[in-house]
């Protein structure tokens, strides 16, 4: 009886500290209203930018990004000035957090790779800064060209699977690059975005390891993961920058993440 009470108490205690510990991963999120623009759709594409724990839906504060743009047909367009500030939070969070949003006018057929470089985020719990170089690809009007092209970010995931029009349970394969070279053995964190539009019910993790799935890249920086549910999936390949940032006069390490978002749809 005493033991049982002790165990129950411990479980509550572990649950309580859980969210503050490393059971969840940070993800910069760059989520378009759709991953495919068809003829009948409006060509005004809404995009949401936020810093979030995707599965537990907890938002974090996000300063104005350093870089935001789109790569289409080999050409980059700076969209930083189009970002406007918004607010967001999980229902159980007691305050609002800064998010960003924009509307992009799609003009031509082709693949549009949107890319984001947030301002460095100071994470006291890990005593480091976090910078997530984030991408998402939207296809327009049936021309499937450009999704495999690099944006040339400090670190980025180059998709080896066409990153749109994916079914649930499809395998997503990508290559992690750091400074233009494959990142051998990179660790890739994978999370489901619980606030995905159309998610019929919130996914609850039975225990911490379920929250963030972890796969490792091979010697060529290539990783794969099969996505078991419809909605948005975030992939974050993490490495340590070879540069430091200063915080209160001290040099601190920087975690750089190559983040990629893909959307899956159930076969019906």
């Amino acid at each position: 009886m005493h033991l049982k009470q002790f165990l129950t108490g411990s479980a509550i205690f572990i649950c309580a500290i859980g969210p503050a510990a490393s059971g969840q991963a940070h993800f910069a999120a760059l989520i378009p209203a759709d991953d495919i623009i068809s003829q009948g759709d409006g060509k005004q594409l809404k995009l949401a930018v936020k810093f979030i724990h995707p599965l537990d839906r907890h938002y974090m504060e996000m300063a104005r990004p350093v870089q935001f743009g789109v790569l289409q047909n080999g050409r980059k367009t700076d969209l930083l000035a189009t970002l406007s500030e918004g607010k967001g939070k999980a229902p159980e969070q007691d305050r609002d957090f800064t998010t960003w949003r924009t509307t992009y006018q799609v003009k031509r057929p082709g693949d549009y790779t949107f890319y984001l470089e947030p301002a460095p985020y100071w994470e006291p719990a890990e005593d480091l800064f976090i910078v997530h170089y984030t991408k998402v690809c939207v296809n327009a009007l049936g021309l499937e060209e450009g999704w495999d092209q690099p944006v040339d970010l400090e670190t980025e995931i180059i998709p080896l699977t066409r990153p749109y029009g994916l079914w649930s349970n499809n395998l997503f394969t990508g290559r992690v690059m750091v400074k233009g070279k494959p990142a051998a053995g990179a660790e890739v964190e994978v999370e489901y975005l619980n606030e995905s539009p159309g998610n019929p019910s919130l996914v609850k993790a039975p225990s911490d390891p379920y929250v963030t799935q972890v796969v490792k890249a091979d010697a060529d920086g290539v990783f794969s993961y099969a996505m078991p549910r419809a909605g948005w999936w975030g992939f974050a390949a993490l490495s340590e920058a070879d540069w430091k940032l200063r915080k209160d006069g001290l040099e601190k390490g920087v975690e750089i993440g190559a983040v990629y978002w893909v959307h899956t749809t159930d076969m019906k």
């Binding site: 003829q39 003009k107 031509r108 057929p109 009007l141 049936g142 021309l143 499937e144 060209e145």
Partner: protein, 108 residues
């Protein structure tokens, strides 16, 4: 026994005939936009290859064909804006390769 052989032969033949269809599975697309008083069309396969020598037909709201023409080697075909209303631009590349694009009056 002979019948079974024939069935196998027939199946093989069918598969052989179906092989070129894998290429035919490439859907054609047409995209159009207005530049001044000119309508420009681009016809392409999903991988970006142009649809060369395809037939373009332009229809108005009442489905009347206003004009027709052929795409060049880059898959392009342009024509003067014939009417300021919603236009349906149809690409026909033969062998059931057909698609259309609705150019809205608001885009003119």
């Amino acid at each position: 026994m002979r019948t079974r052989c024939n069935i196998v032969l027939l199946l093989s033949l069918t598969l052989l005939l179906m092989a070129p269809c894998a290429v035919l599975a490439h859907k054609v697309n047409v995209f159009a936009y207005v530049e001044g008083e000119t309508v420009r069309t681009e016809s392409y396969f999903p991988d970006g290859r142009p649809v060369a020598g395809g037939t373009i037909e332009v229809r108005d709201r009442s489905e009347t064909i206003l004009l027709a023409g052929k795409t060049d080697e880059k898959g392009l075909f342009s024509f003067p804006l014939p009417k300021k209303e919603d236009l349906t631009i149809v690409i026909n590349a033969g062998m059931g390769h057909r698609n259309s694009y609705l150019l809205k009056e608001t885009e003119m």
